[in-house]
C-alpha cells in the first residue's frame, strides 16, 4: 500500500515538495495537496504591481497546472490537524488520513493588530493591497511618503528597502521627485537587518536623498491627523503611509495546538521536523525558524523535506539536512539589483548593484512558473564565498 502524504498549502514550498515526493517515490506514495483557494500566487510580484510595473495577471496560476499528474489536489480549507490520529479535518466535513504531513501554510496578514493601520496606511503584501497602493500612487502629486514596519517577523525582509529605492526612481520618472520626500522607518539603527547589506544600501539611499528614521517600530496610526507613532514614542507626519502589516501563522495551526503563541510551527532547524511529531514537517513562512520568511527559503527547504520523507517511506535513514540557505535578489532601482546569499553559518556578502543582477531577477520572475514549482532549478551547490 502506498504511503499517504498530505501537503497542506499550495505555495512554492508545498507545490515543490509534493512534486518532488511524487517524482521520487512514484507508486510508493499517494500525494495530495490541500489548498484553500487552488490558486498559486507569485508574491514577489506584488512590489511591481504596486509601482505600476506589472499587472496581477502573471502573478496567479491554477495550482493544478503546476502539479504532476499523479498528485491529487483538494481545493478546500483545512480546519484541524489531528497529529496523533494522523488525520486532517476539512471544512466541508470530510477528512484525509496521512502517514506523513507537510505543513506549508504560509503566513497570515493581521493589519488589525496595529491601531489605525487599516484606515490610515497602504500595503503591498497582498495583491489587493498592491493594487490599491498603485491607485494611490497614481493620484499622488507630491508630499511626504513614509514606509514602515508594523510587526516582526514579516515576509521578504528586503521588500521595504526595495520599495523605497524603486519608488524614488518612479517619482523621478514622473517629474514629481522635487515635490516629494521618501523616508524609510526602520526597526533598527540601520536600513536593513543584515549589516553587510545595510552598508551597501545606506550610501545609495543617501545619494538619492531617501530619508532613514531609525528605531522606529510602528505602534499606532492616526488616520485623520496623518500621524504615525512608534513604540519608541516618536511621531511622524505623512501624506502617504505604507506599512508592512504584522504577520501570524494560519488559523489551522493555532486551532490544532501546533503553533507557538504567534501561530508559527516549532520546527527543527536541520530536519524541519515539527515539534516531537516524527511524521510532520514544516516548510517556509509557517515555521518559527529565525531566517527570512521568503519563497527562497521554502524553495530550499522543500527538497530536504521531500528527501527525508522518501527515506522514511523506504525505511532508510534520512540524511539530508537544511543548512539555512536563502537567496534573495534586492532591487536598488535604476534597473540595478544586488543579491543576498546566506545560510545559518555564513552571513551574506552582497556584490555592488549591477544591471546583471537586475536582469537575473527579471529572468527568475519570468521563468518561475516553468521551473521552481516543478523542481527544475536544483540548487544544491554550497554558498560561494567572496571575501569583502
Amino acid at each position: 500500500m502506498p504511503a499517504r502524504v498530505v501537503v497542506l498549502g499550495g505555495g512554492v514550498g508545498g507545490t515543490l515538495a509534493a512534486n518532488l515526493i511524487s517524482k521520487t517515490l512514484g507508486r510508493d506514495a499517494k500525494v495530495t495537496v490541500v489548498d484553500p483557494t487552488g490558486m498559486h500566487v507569485y508574491q514577489p510580484g506584488f512590489l511591481y504591481v504596486a509601482l505600476g510595473q506589472a499587472n496581477g495577471r502573471w502573478l496567479a496560476r491554477d495550482e493544478r497546472t503546476l502539479l504532476r499528474k499523479d498528485v491529487e489536489l483538494v481545493v478546500e480549507p483545512a480546519l484541524r490537524i489531528h497529529a496523533d490520529a494522523g488525520t486532517l479535518q476539512l471544512e466541508r466535513g470530510g477528512s484525509l488520513d496521512w502517514d506523513y504531513l507537510v505543513v506549508a501554510t504560509g503566513a497570515r496578514l493581521v493589519p488589525e493588530q496595529v491601531p489605525g493601520l487599516v484606515e490610515g496606511a497602504q500595503e503591498f503584501y497582498s495583491l489587493e493591497g498592491a493594487q490599491r497602493l498603485r491607485e494611490e500612487l497614481r493620484r499622488f502629486r507630491g508630499g511626504r511618503i513614509l514606509v514602515g514596519i508594523g510587526g516582526i517577523p514579516y515576509k521578504c525582509p528586503p521588500a521595504p528597502v526595495e520599495f523605497v529605492l524603486m519608488l524614488e526612481q518612479e517619482l523621478r520618472r514622473r517629474g514629481i521627485r522635487d515635490r516629494s520626500e521618501v523616508t524609510l522607518l526602520s526597526p533598527l539603527n540601520r536600513a536593513f537587518t543584515i549589516e553587510s547589506a545595510s552598508k551597501l544600501i545606506q550610501p545609495i539611499m543617501d545619494r538619492r536623498g531617501i530619508g532613514l528614521s531609525t528605531f522606529f517600530n510602528v505602534e499606532s496610526i492616526d488616520a485623520n491627523a496623518g500621524v504615525v507613532t512608534s513604540l519608541e514614542g516618536e511621531k511622524a507626519d505623512y501624506d502617504l503611509l505604507i506599512v508592512v502589516p504584522p504577520h501570524r501563522g494560519q488559523h489551522v495551526i493555532e486551532d490544532s495546538d501546533l503553533g507557538d503563541p504567534s501561530g508559527w510551527l516549532p520546527t527543527d532547524r536541520a530536519t524541519l521536523q515539527v515539534g516531537k511529531h516524527e511524521r510532520i514537517f514544516g516548510i517556509g513562512d509557517a515555521t518559527n525558524l529565525p531566517i527570512s520568511k521568503s519563497g527562497s527559503t521554502a524553495h530550499f527547504e522543500a527538497p530536504v523535506v521531500a528527501s527525508r520523507i522518501a527515506s522514511l517511506v523506504r525505511g532508510t535513514a534520512p540524511r539530508e539536512n537544511y543548512g539555512g540557505k536563502v537567496m534573495c535578489f534586492l532591487e536598488t532601482g535604476d534597473r540595478r539589483a544586488t543579491v543576498l546569499r546566506f545560510d545559518y553559518e555564513h552571513p551574506p556578502t552582497p556584490p555592488q548593484p549591477s544591471r546583471a543582477w537586475h536582469v537575473a531577477k527579471w529572468m527568475f520572475n519570468r521563468l518561475y512558473w516553468e521551473t521552481v514549482p516543478q523542481g527544475r532549478i536544483p540548487e544544491r551547490r554550497p554558498i560561494e564565498r567572496t571575501e569583502p
Binding site: L188, F215, P290
Partner: protein, 77 residues
Amino acid sequence: MSIAIAKSLDLKGLSCPMPIVKTAQAIKELLSGELIEALATDPGSVPDFTAWCRATGNELVEQTAEAGVYRFLIRKR
C-alpha cells in the same frame, strides 16, 4: 544594594531585530527607573542593544556574556 528586576525577557534563539522589538514592546509596560533584563543569543544584539539604548535614552546598566548568552540589564528612562 540589591537590584530588583521588574521584568525578564527570554529572547534566546531569536534573530535580529526581534530582540530589540520585543524589548521595546516590553519596556513600555514599565515605570520610569524600573529595570528590565533581556537574554539573547544573537551576537548582533550586542551592538543593537547599545545603539538602541543610546537612541532611546534608556540606560544600559549592565551587559554580560556567558556560554553564548548575552544578558542586558536596562533601566527605563
